[in-house]
């Protein structure tokens, strides 16, 4: 069974909560033998690895996550499928060459904030929308 995403405690300090780090860190082995259902996976964007901690005050990085997995029939409830995706997966079942499966993509995104110095030493706190995947689904 797919590993349910862990519900993390609110982060008190700026330590990295996950051993996985960007760039390019995925949290699941792409096993061909078992199909992965569409769900959220770990992806940590590390400002430290990018060498930006001379101007970024906080955080040292943030969990962005990403969506991956099969949207194969039957699309059960945990896959946040749209009605259209359900129909598309039915048609795919009948005509796999003509119509692809629905795709696994974010259904809810949220913001993350970054505190940094600009080149004039002003301090800026900026909220960036749609930077963190909250949930995935079939579209």
């Amino acid at each position: 069974a797919a590993k349910a995403p862990r519900r993390r405690q609110p982060k008190k300090s700026n330590d990295l909560p996950h051993p996985n780090r960007l760039p390019g860190i995925f949290d699941d082995v792409h096993a061909t033998d078992r199909r992965q259902v569409c769900r959220r996976h770990e992806l940590y964007v590390s400002f430290q690895d990018l060498g930006w901690l001379d101007w970024v005050i906080a955080p040292q990085g943030y969990s962005a996550y990403y969506c991956e997995g099969e949207c194969a029939f039957p699309l059960d409830s945990c896959m946040n499928a749209t009605n259209h995706a359900i129909l598309q997966s039915l048609v795919h079942l009948m005509k796999p060459e003509a119509v692809p499966k629905a795709c696994c993509a974010p259904t809810k995104l949220s913001a993350t904030s970054v505190l940094y110095y600009d080149s004039n030493n002003n301090v800026i706190l900026k909220k960036h929308r749609n930077m963190v995947v909250k949930s995935c689904g079939c579209h």
Partner: protein, 263 residues
């Protein structure tokens, strides 16, 4: 770095493709543009362990916001904005949620002029700020001027002082500048802590055109209107300890539907 990356609980790592120098620069440029930055900032002060008042205040604000983003599930996170006319003894608290800011900028106090005890009355202190970094496509929702008041010279202990902040609207070579009253506070002379003044009107004015940015002017008067030198009243300026230097904080909100800029 091309090293094999290990994942918790799995021995087989996932090989990471090594990026060329050009690719690495592209990756950084792309992430910077997603963060709305034209390039990589190069501050003169390293970001680690900020000690000046403004970064410390902004770090408090960041923690308040980051905490809210963690708890909220998809709800719009809001940026706290300090209580407008508040007084605090430690570093300035983030205060209660008043506006939903998308960007908060704390401005460095660039220039400071004093008319002090060695000049004719009335005494005052003037502050100017660097407005170059103003987010495009966003409008000011609030702006505050924060200045620390220490004990000041003795002898005034229980009397009451009247501290007022003006926007310098226009300067004249031969006569006094034109001033526009922004905010006033009455407090006991012996009071200590951060004073917060609402300067939203001035901030809006400056952003219309930076030529209007002639700064803020602060006066201190006794109850019967005698001018008091702000420095001897305990008001800390640019030459004071870094953790108590004055600064301005401006809260911006993105325009309702900013056109997605095609890149």
């Amino acid at each position: 770095s091309g090293s094999t990356v290990r994942r918790r609980g799995h021995s087989a790592g996932v090989p990471q493709r090594r990026l060329s120098g050009a690719e690495r620069r592209d990756v950084q440029r792309e992430i910077l543009s997603v963060l709305g930055l034209p390039g990589r900032p190069r501050p003169r002060i390293p970001a680690r362990a900020p000690s000046a008042a403004a970064p410390l205040f902004m770090l408090d604000l960041y923690r308040a916001v980051a905490g809210e983003e963690e708890e909220e599930d998809g709800e719009e996170a809001t940026v706290s904005r300090p209580v407008l006319t508040g007084l605090s003894t430690q570093s300035p608290p983030p205060g209660s949620v008043v506006s939903r800011a998308d960007t908060v900028v704390s401005l460095v106090n660039m220039v400071e002029q004093d008319r002090d005890l060695f000049s004719p009355k009335p005494y005052w202190k003037e502050f100017r700020f660097d407005l170059t970094q103003v987010p495009t496509g966003e409008s000011v929702t609030a702006a505050e001027f924060r200045i620390y008041k220490g004990r000041g010279v003795s002898g005034h202990g229980n009397s009451s002082w009247h501290i007022s902040i003006y926007e310098v609207a226009a300067e004249h070579p031969t006569r006094e500048s034109d001033l526009f009253l922004l905010d006033v506070q009455d407090l006991r002379a012996g009071t200590e802590g951060w004073l917060v003044f609402d300067v939203t009107a001035a901030s809006n004015h400056w952003l219309v055109d930076q030529k209007y940015n002639l700064g803020l002017r602060l006066y201190v008067e006794t109850e019967d209107g005698h001018s008091v030198d702000p420095g001897s009243a305990g008001l800390v300026g640019r030459r004071g300890p870094r953790s108590k230097q004055p600064f301005m904080v401006t809260f911006f909100r993105a325009s309702p539907s900013p056109a997605r800029v095609t890149r």
